[in-house]
């Protein structure tokens, strides 16, 4: 059984390559749109709170609330309130992506060595300059780690949105009658690939960022 399912999947891939590509693009589009919106919301708040060393309960609360919200429930609520659609699904994904980005940004900035910040203030950098030239670069690796968690999370959930009519690779996975078991497996493999590629890309950026921080490490 192991072999036949995967053999079917790998037969499906070349024969339905353009379909898979189109569906993968849909999933990616949904995920990255949500991620971008989440970044726009969470980044400024996290940076500001972290810089002011304020709002620790908020950061912790958001992160634990974010973890306890099952993605399926959120997708369901999104459909129930707004109906099925690209931006409706994107909104549900934004809600999921904000907590990890917000929390990591907060701790990335908050955790920057206070001596470095004090030295920067001492040589006359403004608060904005401290944030953009000292805290942000020093906190970048941790911030990117949060982005990676959010990205993986959002791709996984975008797939789930797909099985409820949201399009993308999840759509193939929910239609075994149409695409056959091979199609379902092919889509699952592509979903995994999409998540792993995104995570790997962000991991590389993260590594470059932390290497710049500590060249000897």
């Amino acid at each position: 059984m192991v072999s036949s399912a995967f053999v079917d999947a790998f037969r499906f891939m070349p024969s339905h390559f353009s379909l898979l590509l189109e569906k993968a693009a849909q999933t990616a589009e949904l995920a990255f749109a949500a991620l971008a919106i989440a970044l726009l919301i969470a980044l400024p708040i996290g940076l500001w709170l972290g810089h002011r060393h304020r709002g620790l309960p908020l950061a912790l609360g958001v992160s634990s609330l974010g973890r306890s919200l099952p993605s399926v429930v959120l997708i369901g609520l999104g459909i129930a309130i707004l109906g099925v659609g690209f931006w409706n699904n994107a909104l549900a994904l934004v809600v999921l992506a904000v907590p990890p980005i917000l929390t990591n940004t907060y701790f990335a900035v908050e955790g920057v060595d206070s001596d470095a910040v004090e030295a920067a203030r001492g040589i006359g950098l403004t608060e904005t300059q401290i944030l953009t030239r000292v805290e942000l670069p020093l906190g970048l690796p941790l911030l990117l780690a949060g982005l990676r968690i959010a990205a993986v999370f959002v791709i996984a959930t975008a797939t789930i949105a797909g099985i409820f009519g949201g399009g993308g690779l999840g759509d193939i996975m929910a239609r075994q009658v149409t695409y056959g078991l091979g199609g379902v497996f092919a889509a699952a493999i592509w979903v995994a690939g999409l998540a792993l590629l995104t995570a790997a890309a962000l991991a590389l950026v993260q590594r470059a960022a932390s290497r710049r921080m500590a060249p000897r490490a």
């Binding site: 973890r67 306890s68 919200l69 979903v191 998540a195």
Partner: protein
């Protein structure tokens, strides 16, 4: 495969004699919740707790063993870290599906997937916890004549507790959340009524809210209980 009913042919649940609330597909129809607590919600909740406990229990045992191996043979730590990270990165829906050829459309498949998600958090936290023991504490333990075993049980393990319990907390909450996706594969846990609700033509709001609310409540309760346990078990962390 159960998944196909959502797109290819949703199952219409039998509402019985509908109340006004149910006829309007209200958000929180208490009559339905009352009526179906015993046959739907409660069993799903219990299944969900079982799914979670088994996954975290097995995940913890595996992570602990892996952490001990990694601490003994340091060169194994990076590959183990990458491997658990890899498993954690595969989207749940895909992992559930990809495991089917291995173990079929069964609870085993679901548990394997859930276990593999716990490994990343638990393994990392156990390793970090055990490594965080200050070298001077280990030296004084050795100098006082504690054996390897005594040092581990009386010093290293208790000092790693905060990190281990923090990892356990995150793993439990994450597993409760991800376990709802298991209903894609098998009708088990709180995911089953949630999937059923979303799959209903008009989307059955009361069932979604009731089952989803239970999942969130379960996660928050587990979070609170484990936080309390963490405080009770590590009194030395509360001082100052």
């Amino acid at each position: 495969m159960t998944a196909q009913r959502f797109a290819d042919g949703p199952v219409i649940p039998n509402f019985g004699k509908p109340s006004a609330c149910l006829r309007d597909n209200g958000w929180f129809c208490t009559d339905w919740i009352h009526e179906h607590w015993g046959d739907t919600l409660q069993p799903a909740l219990i299944q969900h707790i079982q799914l979670t406990l088994i996954a975290v229990g097995i995940g913890f045992a595996i992570s602990f063993a892996l952490a001990l191996v990694a601490l003994r043979f340091g060169f194994l730590d990076p590959p183990l870290g990458v491997f658990t990270d890899f498993l954690y990165t595969i989207p749940s829906l895909a992992l559930f599906q990809l495991l089917v050829p291995l173990s079929g459309v069964t609870v085993t498949t679901v548990e394997i997937a859930l276990v593999s998600y716990t490994l990343f958090i638990l393994y990392r936290n156990i390793v970090v916890g055990l490594r965080s023991v200050p070298p001077e504490v280990l030296e004084s333990a050795r100098g006082m004549g504690l054996t390897r075993r005594q040092t581990f049980l009386r010093v290293e393990l208790p000092l790693a507790m905060p990190a281990i319990l923090a990892g356990l907390r995150i793993a439990v909450v994450a597993t409760i959340s991800i376990a709802t996706v298991a209903a894609f594969l098998i009708e088990d846990g709180l995911g089953a009524p949630i999937f059923a609700a979303i799959g209903t033509p008009d989307l059955f709001k009361t069932e979604l809210v009731a089952a989803g609310g239970l999942a969130i409540l379960l996660a928050l309760t587990a979070d609170a209980l484990l936080t309390l346990a963490q405080r009770a078990l590590t009194p030395w962390n509360r001082v100052r």
